[in-house]
Amino acid sequence: MTDISRRKLIWTGLGAAAGVSGLAVAARLAEKYGLVPPDHGGIFGVGETLTYAAQRLLTRHSMAREFSPSEISKRPFPNEMAPPSDAFKRLQAAGFVDWRLTVTGMVDQPTSFSLAQLKSYPSRSQITMVQCEEGWSYIAEWVGVPLSHVLNLVGVHPQARYVAYFSIDPNWWDSMDMADAMHPQTFLTYGMNGHELPVGHGGPLRMRVPRQLGYKNVKFITHLTVTDSMKKFGKGLGSASPEAGYAWYAGI
C-alpha cells in the first residue's frame, strides 16, 4: 500500500466515522429539543426533519416580514374551496352570531368562545404575505387576537407540544408546535383589510400563521386542542396535509 492510498484510507475512515457519530448525536439532540416533525417517517423523513430542525433553530423567535399599507394587494386571491356545508350556511345566515371556538386538551379550563368574546380581547393587526405552495402570493392586512392570548386565558399545561386546529369542514385540520402557537404573529383572524374577514378568505375565523405557507392557514376554525403528541390525531402525521401527500411543516 502506498503512502498516498494509506493516507486516503485514513481520511476516508475518519470522515465516515465523524459523519456517522455526528448523525447519531444530531438525532439524539433533535429528539430532545423537539426538532423532529410528526411526519418524520418514510423516504422523505430525513429531508423534512433537517428542514424543520434547521428552521426551528434559526427561526424560533423571528418575525415574518411586515409590509407597508401601500403594498397591500388590490385583489387578494381567495383560493378555491369545497362548497360550504349546510351547518356553515345556517351559521352564515344568522351572521355567525352562534359561531363558537372550543378549546380543549391539555389546558386548565377547557372553554368555548363566541366570536364576540374573541373580538372583545385586545386586537392586533399585521400586514403580511399569504404565500401558496403553488407559487402565488399576496399581501393583506389581517386583524385578530393572537392565539397566545387565548391559550394564556385557558392555561396551557407545561407538557403541551402542539396545538391542533380544526375547520368546520371535517376534512380540514392541522397543527403547529408551541413555538408557532405562542408566536406573536399567529392570529385567530376575524378581520381583513379594514373589513370583516370575508368567507372566501376563511371568515368568520381563520388561523393565520404567516411564517408558514398558505395551507397551514386553515379557514373556518371551530376547535383547538392542545396536546403533547400528534400520534392520536388522524393517521398520526400531524395534520390532514401529510395524509394528502403534503408536508406537515410548511415554513420550507
Binding site: 486516503k8 429531508g47 428542514t51 418575525m63 401558496c132 405552495e133 407559487g135 402570493s137 415554513g251 420550507i252
Partner: protein, 261 residues
C-alpha cells in the same frame, strides 16, 4: 506513437509525450474518489430537483416581479404549458394531475443532499488544492492567445487533444467555476429566499432580490442557466468521446480496460 518527436513542433511534441505517458501508465489517475462520488450525487440530486421543480412550476406557470402575484394579477409572462390547477387559465381545456405533495418533499430532500454534498466538495476542494490545481485557470490559460485558440477550436468542433483527457482546458475551467461558485450559490439563495420562515430570520435574502416573486423568477432563470450548462456539458462529452470522458468519472482512471491489463 511511433513518430519521432524531434521532427515535431514543441506543442505537438508535448502532446505526443503526454499521450505516450498516458498509454505507458495505461490507466492514469484522473478524478479523485471524492470528486467522482460528489459528481454523481449532485447529478442525481439535480435531476430530482429539476423534475420536481417542473412539477411544482406546473401548478402555477406564471411569473411576476416584486413581492406578489396571483391569477388575479397580470403576469410578467406565462409559460404556455397546461397547469395542474384549474384556476390557472392556460387555454388547454384540461387540468394535469396534482403532483406537488411528493414533488415538494423530494425537492427539499434533494436540496439538502445537494447542499451537504456541495459543502463536502467545497471543503475538500479547498483542503486538497483541487480548485487551485484543476479548476483555476493559470495565467497562461487566460492569455489572449490561449483563450482565442481554445474558443476557435471549439467553434470548429475540433476533437480535443489527448492531453485534454487528463486536464481541463480553459473554457472548461471557467464554465465549471461559474457553475460551482456562481450558479449553485445563486440557486440555493433564490430557493431559500422563497421560504417564509427562512426570510423571517434573514429578510435581506429576499429583499435584496426584489421580493418573493422576484426570487421565484430568478430561481427559474438560474435553473435555465444550469440546464443550459448540462446540455452543453453532455454535448461536449459526446463530441470528445462519451466513454473516454465518462469512464474516468466512474473509475477514476483514463484508458480502456484493455490498456489497463
Amino acid at each position: 506513437m511511433a513518430r519521432s518527436e524531434s521532427a515535431q513542433a514543441p506543442l505537438e511534441a508535448y502532446v505526443a509525450r503526454s499521450v505516450s505517458a498516458v498509454r505507458a501508465s495505461a490507466a492514469a489517475s484522473r478524478h479523485s474518489a471524492l470528486v467522482r462520488v460528489t459528481h454523481w450525487i449532485v447529478t442525481l440530486c439535480f435531476f430530482a430537483l429539476l423534475l420536481t421543480g417542473i412539477e411544482i412550476l406546473i401548478s402555477h406557470p406564471r411569473f411576476y416581479w416584486g413581492e406578489t402575484g396571483t391569477v388575479l394579477t397580470k403576469p410578467l409572462f406565462q409559460i404556455p404549458i397546461p397547469s395542474s390547477r384549474d384556476l390557472v387559465r392556460t387555454g388547454y381545456g384540461y387540468v394535469l394531475p396534482d403532483q406537488n405533495g411528493w414533488s415538494r418533499y423530494l425537492h427539499f430532500e434533494a436540496a439538502w443532499i445537494l447542499v451537504l454534498t456541495g459543502l463536502l466538495y467545497g471543503i475538500f476542494g479547498l483542503a486538497t488544492g483541487h480548485f487551485r490545481k484543476n479548476l483555476f485557470p493559470t495565467g497562461a490559460d487566460l492569455s489572449w492567445r490561449t483563450l482565442s485558440a481554445t474558443i476557435a477550436g471549439h467553434l470548429r468542433f475540433q476533437r480535443p487533444s489527448e492531453a485534454e483527457a487528463r486536464s481541463y482546458n480553459v473554457l472548461q475551467r471557467l464554465a465549471y467555476l461559474f457553475v460551482i461558485f456562481v450558479l449553485f450559490p445563486l440557486i440555493i439563495w433564490t430557493g431559500l429566499a422563497m421560504s417564509p420562515a427562512f426570510v423571517s430570520a434573514f429578510p435581506a435574502t429576499v429583499n435584496l432580490l426584489g421580493g418573493q416573486q422576484s426570487a421565484r423568477l430568478l430561481h427559474f432563470v438560474v435553473t435555465l442557466a444550469l440546464v443550459l450548462f448540462l446540455v452543453v456539458h453532455i454535448v461536449m462529452i459526446c463530441l470528445a468521446g462519451f466513454w473516454s470522458r465518462t469512464r474516468p468519472m466512474i473509475t477514476g482512471r483514463t484508458g480502456t480496460s484493455k490498456e489497463r491489463v
